[in-house]
Amino acid sequence: MLSVDIHHMQGAFNLNAAFECGAGVTALFGPSGAGKSSVVNAIAGLIRPRAGRVVFDGETLFDSARGLHVRAGRRRFGYVFQEARLFPHLTVRQNLLYSHWFDRTLYSASDFSHVVELLGIGELLLRRPAQLSGGEKQRAAIGRALLAKPRLLLLDEPLASLDAARKQEILRYLRRLRDETRIPMIYVSHAVDEVLQLADQVVLLAAGDVVASGSVEDVMGRPDLRPGAGLFEGGAVIETQVTGVHRGDGLIMLGFDGGTLTAGNTSACVGDRMRVRIRAREVSIALEPPQQISIQNILRGRIVSVDAPGGGSVIVVIAVGSATLRARVTQRAARQLALAPGVEVYALIKALTLDQRVDGMPLNIQ
């Protein structure tokens, strides 16, 4: 759908980004200064890279070899910026309809009311941006981008300037957007939890280069990514479904084809789909099923490989059903237990990072 291959220089910073992304949400992920915003600005047409190509749905938008550069206004890409960038001299309503000044055919009363309803901004329409809170501004900015009927939505760290509560609020709207509008999105972020909650694919960027790209499960599971590398910690991401809810204990049961996980959660319902991230360092390994232990999550699996990325520890990759778990243990422990491919083991998991990935909007978030 979108194919990017660009080279750009900004001062001493060298950007070389080549990747493809399809439908759904693609997260452009990496630490600050990795070049994420430059990539998005190049896709939007706000900067003109030194060299390369940007092609969307077969339409070439930028090609340095042919001297082609379609200007931002003609690309029909929506852009939601970190700082909302609402026009201060216009009301929220005028901001929302701004794109229609340049293309009268965009207007449709039902689209307008749908977007206003989707983002819950009906009561803000007559206000000026200076009278809005951070979260309200960002919702209005998302609405403004949507009403330009974008073919692709670019979101550059739209949550970065918000506090934790507002973040959750906007994330809820973004999830709803993803599931209802089906507009492909490129979501720039340096926060793992946002990527987990929203993204289908990840493009990992570091110091101007694409380090990895692929599905969330694949990229997040890479063992060479750990704290200290300036990225996120390696681990496994498993798609599960809620099979049981124990409201009294505040626990839910998550089923997948390798077994059942127990996690703390008070708002999920049976049938919800959940994405679970399990950090490699939070997984221990036992050769026998342990008795009388506080750990709730014990999964049986078979070792696929034992990798030694260095630093005195090894990464044990364990197949559990069709899912893949990763455990970080010391080299000595691996030696004592004689961990090797093919060995049957029990993975003990201390804590899970849960993320709700529900169709539509979770109505009973507490």
Binding site: R71, A72, G73, F81, H89, Y98, S99, F102, R144
Partner: protein, 233 residues
């Protein structure tokens, strides 16, 4: 209160100053925009040209205007033949002299206000379908409005006091080109004219002060309207 003569002088001064602003506003906005938002070769030369009347002796400006706009000057002939407007030794010439002399002040205020607009807003407008002119008309100019008004009022106040270029270009003709400053000067040269000159000085003070106070009030109001808050700059 005011004598008929004094009233005539004040009205002429205001007419000249108003027309000088009308003449220079389109050029002022264009120069301010180009200097604030565009990069091109020769930009510093344009910048210097705009500021020239500020540092050049007004007499020199007046002399050059006479050469350009006089009966036999290239621009003077053009205006006479095509529009039937004669500017040499006429009040319209005084307005041109004031426009040139107040131009740097006007551009400076407008340019500052355009430079203070966040270019990110203009980029956002581009992503929403606006072209170069669309951005200019819907974002840059409305947001620069307080500065544009300030520039106009400063130029107006400056025009009220213009002396050197005016007297050189259009001379000191009572009822035609004799504005406040020129009248004060003429009275000062006349024996026994000091008292009348004093009255005109006070009048000129009141006019200038009123222009500045009005400018302040207008800027505050447009700022409130344009930005949704009270920003005093």
């Amino acid at each position: 209160m005011l004598s008929a003569e004094e009233l005539d002088i004040v009205l002429l001064s205001v007419k000249v100053a108003l027309w000088s602003v009308v003449i220079s506003v389109p050029f002022g906005v264009a120069a301010a925009y180009v200097l604030a938002r565009r990069e091109f070769p020769g930009k510093s030369l344009l910048d210097a040209l705009v500021h020239l009347p500020l540092v050049l002796p007004p007499v020199v400006v007046g002399y050059w205007l006479l050469l350009l706009f006089g009966r036999r000057g290239p621009l003077g002939q053009f205006l006479e033949e095509w529009f039937g407007i004669a500017v040499a030794f006429r009040w319209s010439g005084a307005a041109i002299a004031c426009a040139v002399m107040s131009f740097p002040l006007m551009v400076r205020a407008m340019r500052l206000s355009m430079e203070s607009i966040d270019p990110k807003l203009e980029a956002a407008a581009q992503t929403l379908g606006a072209g170069r002119w669309g951005v200019l008309l819907t974002i840059t100019l409305p947001l620069a409005l307080p500065g544009i008004l300030t520039g106009m009022l400063l130029a107006f106040a400056r025009s009220l006091g213009e002396f050197g270029a005016t007297i050189t270009f259009v001379s000191n003709i009572p009822g035609e080109t004799q504005t406040l400053s020129l009248a004060i000067y003429a009275l000062w040269q006349t024996p026994g004219g000091e008292a009348a000159a004093q009255r005109l000085c006070v009048l000129s003070l009141i006019l200038s002060l009123a222009a500045l106070l009005l400018s302040e009030a207008m800027v505050r109001r447009t700022n409130q309207r344009v930005k949704g808050y009270d920003a005093k700059r």
